[in-house]
Amino acid sequence: MTGTSRSGVARRIVPCLDVRDGQVVKGVRFRDHRVMGDIIELAARYRDEGADELVFYDITASPEGRSVDVDWVRRVSETIDIPFCVAGGIRSVASAERVLAQGADKISINTPALEDPDLIDRLVKAFGSQCVVIGVDSIADGESYTVRSHTGTPDAMKAPGRQTLDWLREVVDRGAGEVVLNCMSADGTRTGYDIAQLSAARRLLPIPLVASGGAGAVDHFIDVFRQADVDAALAATVFHSGQIPIPELKQALAAAGIEVRPC
């Protein structure tokens, strides 16, 4: 169940930086975005605190139909020496290549994959599975999980009518290297990760699974690694606000017998 003896790979702690107009922002339930700070400053701070990986999500890119401005990707790659993933605005092999060429380690796609699932195959063929992360926004209704697209702005959000677990099977078959499952009902609530939904995803995913949505306390991280056996836990507000310092989080995880990279 827990990963303490499964292999030597550490469970990853992944701060997510939502980027808009060159600033890191964060809102509650995808609304009311507040400015949290400068991208490069926050990236360097998280690297120094012991974050294992960073995800940058350009929340302005997808809904307004423009692709990600890659200059900040280069500046991040020049500054930090931990892996990072760029999400938002990537809708073609060419736009993915621009981001990877600037030094991103992975690209993550969400809505464009739902609109054109074959894009996953094309990205995997061009860059390899290890570069291709699929972001999935999912809403729980009892034990029924369905995906949402265009989640960057609330007014544009759509329900494409896909069952989340069916979609996860499909992205694995198409060669995706990792899944970030964002449980939207929990996102921004700080009441804990959606353990039931993440466990259901874990049972069918042979590739790394990143939990997203709901982190509010150190115990939530312990629970999601122990109970849902995820490979990584992503969070934003609790890190940006300073509520949970990463060194303290990692000490607590290690004390709970969960293997993490020491800070």
């Binding site: 030094g103 290890q130 290297g177």
Partner: protein, 197 residues
């Protein structure tokens, strides 16, 4: 000090260049045999598939150039794998400096492949390059791995033990990405840059 970073194809090479610049070096990204041959240090990076990378090296006439280098050479990730004889991936014939075959990591229900994330290494024989780095954590992304042998300086494990750092004469290799391995990775790269000819 000149450092040549070999252009063996692949989109994501700039992170290696950025890491070297953070150490104060001015790397040259090149497929020119003359520049590579004359460099004080050569780095062979690589992301992607073994067969495709060998095709790119053959196209540029670089296989023999690399094999005959006498200065310190460091292969990173796929670049390390290319130093071996062959790989199960694409059944590829490689540069053949180290007499062993790369095999796919075990497919098991409790084991995620690719091996993607931070893992610790254990030093198996003393070398200046790995001094005090035993027990350090590095960032790995790979599905195929090199066996442990005389060439192994350090091991790591994912389902089975494999070579994390290798050395064969002036040729070094790291299965992990030092450019994405925080302080431990920077220390490793610094050691390589400062290694004696």
């Amino acid at each position: 000090m000149t450092i040549a970073v070999v252009d063996s194809g692949g989109a994501n090479i700039s992170s290696v260049l950025h890491a070297l610049r953070r150490l104060g070096a001015e790397p040259r990204f090149t497929a020119d045999p003359a520049v590579i041959g004359a460099a004080d240090r050569v780095i062979l990076p690589g992301v992607g598939a073994a067969g495709r990378a060998m095709e790119v090296l053959r196209t540029h006439g670089l296989v023999d150039v690399i094999r005959n280098l006498t200065q310190p050479v460091l292969g990173i990730c796929l670049g390390m794998q290319l130093l071996f004889e062959s790989s199960e991936e694409d059944d590829a014939r490689l540069i053949s400096l180290i007499p062993a075959r790369l095999r796919r990591l075990p497919d098991r229900e409790d084991l995620r492949v690719p091996h993607m994330g931070w893992n610790a290494i254990a030093a198996t024989r003393p070398d200046r390059l790995t001094q005090n780095l035993g027990g350090s954590w590095f960032y790995f992304v790979h599905s195929f791995a090199a066996p442990v042998g005389d060439w192994t300086l350090a091991t790591s494990a994912h389902g089975r033990s494999f070579s994390a750092i290798v050395r064969q004469g002036n040729f070094y290799g790291a299965q992990f990405h030092p450019e994405r391995s925080a302080g431990a990775g920077a220390a490793f790269l610094q050691r390589f840059v400062e290694s004696e000819r």
